[in-house]
């Protein structure tokens, strides 16, 4: 006799899907469609007049050299933040995974920065590295290093990258640590018995077993740098000097919220959305193949 594990109820699966679908619709499709619609409009800040202008917002966007500059800035900023926050967090997680004496205290401290609001984190770094007020900028000055993020674009970029990385390390750390702790000790011990050194054990056993975690974090981190970092940039550099730290999402924020140009801002967010969807698709199509579940 064949045991059937197939439920023949057609209504139940739909019913179970409904809450998820409603949430996705209300919090993603609805706002996204609004953004697309708004990108075809020209509105004043108060929403008193609104005029359908077709693709004009996109046209004026793609003639701005500043917009291409912000794309390049985003590329540099996101790769630096993703690579640094992932690798530093992995390093910390492998250390925390060892049998340390005060491991729980160490872990708590590691997770703490995640609780800090991005803007607060930004202000913190701004004050530490302000060329004349900063406690950490002064030693640089004593060493005759002309540290000046207010005018030097590279210095400003270093500063926002540091702030964004610092903020994200905790999150990555948490996942890496959980991933490391789920790797069976016996596998590693077997490697050790076979004479593999710690580095070899890490790259041939631990890292491949961590690949699902790493892949997940890569996607999450890219989304983080694309969408979540404008608070940090706003507090640390305000997109300056001379636009060198204006990423695409910061430009959306600056033009839309600060500048009141809702149509142009909506067009930018649609472009940003397309880029992130494409990036995520590429990641799942090509990077995921290397992941061993």
């Amino acid at each position: 006799m064949e045991k059937s594990v197939v439920f023949n109820n057609k209504l139940l699966p739909c019913l179970l899907l409904v809450p998820q679908l409603i949430i996705t619709f209300v919090f993603f499709y609805w706002p996204a469609s609004q953004a697309v619609w708004q990108s075809f409009l020209r509105e004043d800040a108060f929403g008193l007049t609104s005029e359908f202008v077709g693709l004009e917002n996109y046209q004026s966007l793609f003639v701005q050299p500043e917009y291409y500059a912000s794309m390049l800035t985003t590329l540099i900023f996101s790769s630096l933040v993703a690579v640094l926050s992932l690798s530093i967090a992995l390093l910390f997680a492998t250390q925390a995974d060892k049998n340390l004496k005060a491991a729980s205290v160490y872990k708590t401290f590691m997770i703490w920065p995640y609780a800090v609001a991005p803007a607060v984190a930004g202000v913190l770094w701004f004050f530490m590295f302000h060329p004349s007020l900063g406690t950490l900028a002064r030693p640089l000055r004593w060493m005759n290093f002309d540290w000046n993020p207010l005018l030097n674009g590279n210095h400003a970029m270093i500063l926002v990258v540091m702030a964004a990385v610092w903020k994200q390390i905790s999150y990555n750390f948490l996942f890496f640590l959980a991933g490391l702790q789920s790797i069976p000790k016996s596998v590693i011990e077997a490697g050790a018995i076979d004479g593999a050194g710690p580095m070899r054990r890490f790259w041939t056993i631990i890292f491949p077993l961590l690949s699902p975690t790493t892949f997940f974090l890569l996607v999450v981190n890219i989304v983080y740098v694309f969408f979540d970092t404008f608070g940090i940039i706003d507090a640390v550099t305000g997109g300056g000097p001379a636009g060198t730290t204006t990423t695409m999402v910061y430009k959306v924020y600056a033009d839309g919220r600060l500048g009141g140009d809702l149509g142009g801002s909506a067009a930018q967010s649609v472009v940003l959305m397309v880029i992130v969807i494409a990036l995520t698709a590429i990641q799942f199509r090509y990077v995921e193949r290397k992941v061993q579940y």
């Binding site: 004026s60 004349s132 674009g153």
Partner: protein, 437 residues
């Protein structure tokens, strides 16, 4: 026992409820961006007004920075529950003005409510900013300031500078002397860079920032601040930045602490910095008028104002507007303005309040507070110094600052940077013009 206490409390509550007048009190929402001591001033004003009569109740609420307050107000308007009174900083003026239907002009409000209102009682340099070209006052001036040059007298003395510099060449010389005397990282500096070196600079030298009386006469305005004088000034700053005789201090007012810490002995920023300077500076300081180029005919002209004004939002009930009008009349009272000016450091908005403070000898003891007033009233305002009113100004200031930063970092020449700032600004003005009609 507990029950008895409770019933006693309940009885008191009921008694109080019965004691309050039977008619409903009309609430007036007031959104503002004042922090610290000035937040207390706002709350005190509302308390005093509420205590002065029984019909209306002004409820102030703090909404964050100027830009945050404005955005919150706009968002609330779009959602259909705007406050009655909204404090908007001066660069938001054009956005508010163009929002016909979203705002209730103040002159109209006062007329409808029948409150005594004489636009001539206010300082013209202040009201000019918030009035149409016909002279109709659209918003109510509240906290106004101007830009002054703050001077660390102790450090100037140490560097052997006997007289406070008056002109830009004198400031450059003084900065070089200060640098030689130990101020290696900063001869002079400023906060609000575009306000100092573009907006105030233009008015002070009687040159145009843009056409159409700096936008006051219409939104079809073109920017003009890439004139030879502007280029010369920015080039001077670029040259001096190289060895930090001039040192750029960042956007907004972030750099102000460099004056209080003694790092920069000459510093241009808002006159509203007075309170902070008084609290932090451990040296003898004063304020002086902004410097000018002596070879520019007619300079110095007069300065323009900063700070914020109160806008009345549209679509409210007549009795609520009556309350707002009463509150504005209350704010205009001479004694109240005198107190406000002397406590907060902001300018008195009425002529009477200025005269009264002057007559009381207050400025002899606090000369730093009179400098901005002297600057504002230095000469009869011209087309170029009446004020400025450009749409998208909040965003445009950032673009101007970007170009200035590129120039000071040596990436662009002064001419290239100013041309780009003008071109990018004009593009924003065109966008605004299309929505403002």
């Amino acid at each position: 026992m507990a029950l008895r206490q409770f019933s006693a409390a309940a009885a008191v509550t009921v008694a109080l409820a019965l004691a309050t007048p039977a008619y409903a009190v009309t609430e007036i929402q007031w959104w503002h961006a004042m922090t610290g001591g000035n937040n207390d001033v706002v709350n005190k004003l509302a308390e005093d007004f509420n205590a002065s009569q029984t019909e209306y109740k002004v409820v102030p609420s703090f909404k964050g920075s100027y830009a945050d307050t404005m955005n919150a107000g706009i968002a609330a308007f779009r959602a259909g529950n705007a406050p009655h009174i909204m404090q908007v900083f001066e660069v938001g003026t054009a956005t508010m003005m163009s929002a016909t239907g979203a705002i209730k002009p103040v002159y109209q409000l006062m007329k409808d409510a029948g409150e005594p209102f004489d636009p001539k009682a206010y300082l013209p340099t202040i009201t000019g900013y918030y009035s149409t070209s016909k002279g109709d006052m659209l918003s109510f001036p509240f906290n106004s300031s101007s830009m002054v040059m703050w001077i660390n007298k102790d450090e100037l003395k140490k560097a052997g500078i006997a007289v406070i510099p008056k002109t830009w060449p004198e400031v450059f010389d003084a900065a070089k002397k200060l640098k030689a005397a130990g101020h290696a990282t900063c001869g002079f500096s400023n906060a609000w860079a575009t306000w100092a070196h573009i907006e105030q600079f233009s008015a002070w030298h009687n040159v145009a920032i843009g056409s159409k009386a700096n936008g006051l006469d219409g939104f079809d305005t073109e920017l003009k601040f890439n004139s030879p004088l502007h280029v010369k000034h920015l080039q001077n700053l670029i040259d001096l930045q190289k060895d930090k005789t001039y040192d750029y201090g960042g956007r907004a007012n972030a750099g102000e602490a460099r004056f209080g810490s003694g790092e920069c002995a000459i510093f241009l920023t808002s006159s509203g910095y007075y309170g902070t300077a008084k609290g932090t500076a451990k040296f003898d300081f004063t304020s002086a008028p902004m410097p000018y180029y002596p070879d520019v005919a007619g300079a110095p002209q007069n300065s323009i104002i900063g700070g914020a004004s109160l806008w009345v939002m549209g679509g409210k009930k007549p009795e609520e507007y009556k309350g707002v009008a009463k509150f504005f009349a209350f704010l205009s009272d001479t004694d109240r303005q005198v107190k406000l000016h002397q406590e907060s450091g902001y300018l008195p908005i009425t002529k009477a309040a200025y005269e009264k403070t002057k007559a009381s000898g207050f400025y002899e003891k606090n000369p730093a507070l009179e400098t901005p007033l002297k600057e504002l009233t230095n000469k009869e305002p011209t087309e170029n110094s009446r004020g400025l009113r450009f749409g998208n100004m909040v965003q445009m200031r950032d673009v101007w600052a970007e170009e200035m930063e590129a120039a000071l970092a040596g990436k662009k020449t002064a001419k290239e940077a100013l041309d780009a700032a003008v071109a990018r600004g004009n593009a924003m003005l065109r966008t605004f013009e299309k929505t403002a009609k």
